[in-house]
Amino acid sequence: MSINIFVQSDSFDLGDVSNKFVRAQHGMGAVVTFSGIVRDLNDDPLKFLEIEHYPGMTEKAIGEIAKNAMQRWSLGDVLVIHRYGKLSAGDLIMMVATAAPHRRDAFEAAEYLMDYLKSRAPFWKKENTNTMQGWVDAKDEDEDALSRW
């Protein structure tokens, strides 16, 4: 039952990470992964997405979220990878992986991690196109999602 957190500018290989994650589990019947992908903008194509973060606090905040998930559900390992820096449409921004004896725990823990990462981990996104650059606003629905837990 270990927590692994990587905050990095480098890309990562979802497949490779997923396979290693599954192989490291014992007694677990369920593994859930979530991957976040940079979406293109509809009318004004994205040149790049820039992700800023707060070094130090980021790792601390994600660590707290993961620890809370571990206490709340019966889990094996928990993994979080989150990138910062310049990304292009189609790039993987981040992923989480959760393992559990039973599927419901793995699913709920992954959703919980995502809901908290969205609005409690110190990342900010700036979209850059040929015509504009602007910070992505936080959505009310992301803040509201926390009331579920």
Binding site: G36, E52, Y54, G56, M57, K60, A61, H82, I93, M94, M114, L117, K118, S119, R120, A121, P122, F123, W124, K125, K126, W135, V136, D137, A138, D142, E143
Partner: protein
Amino acid sequence: MIKVLYFSWVRERIGQPQETLETRAENVTALVEELRRKDPRYAMAFSDLNALRVAVDQVLVDFDAPINGAKEVAFFPPMTGG
């Protein structure tokens, strides 16, 4: 001496990512008042506290949180991770 950090559009409006300040403010709100008086850029960045979040020593807190003994205070808009 306290380190003050700015992220996202707060950093852009203030024009620097961080600075070190001498302050006698006892809580975040008092520190914000001091910063507002420094310069119009600060006044603009801190014009609407509802649009801002604050962390003291890397932990998210409310604006009435004390900062006595804190090493760093960070101001930023609501986070957009994931």
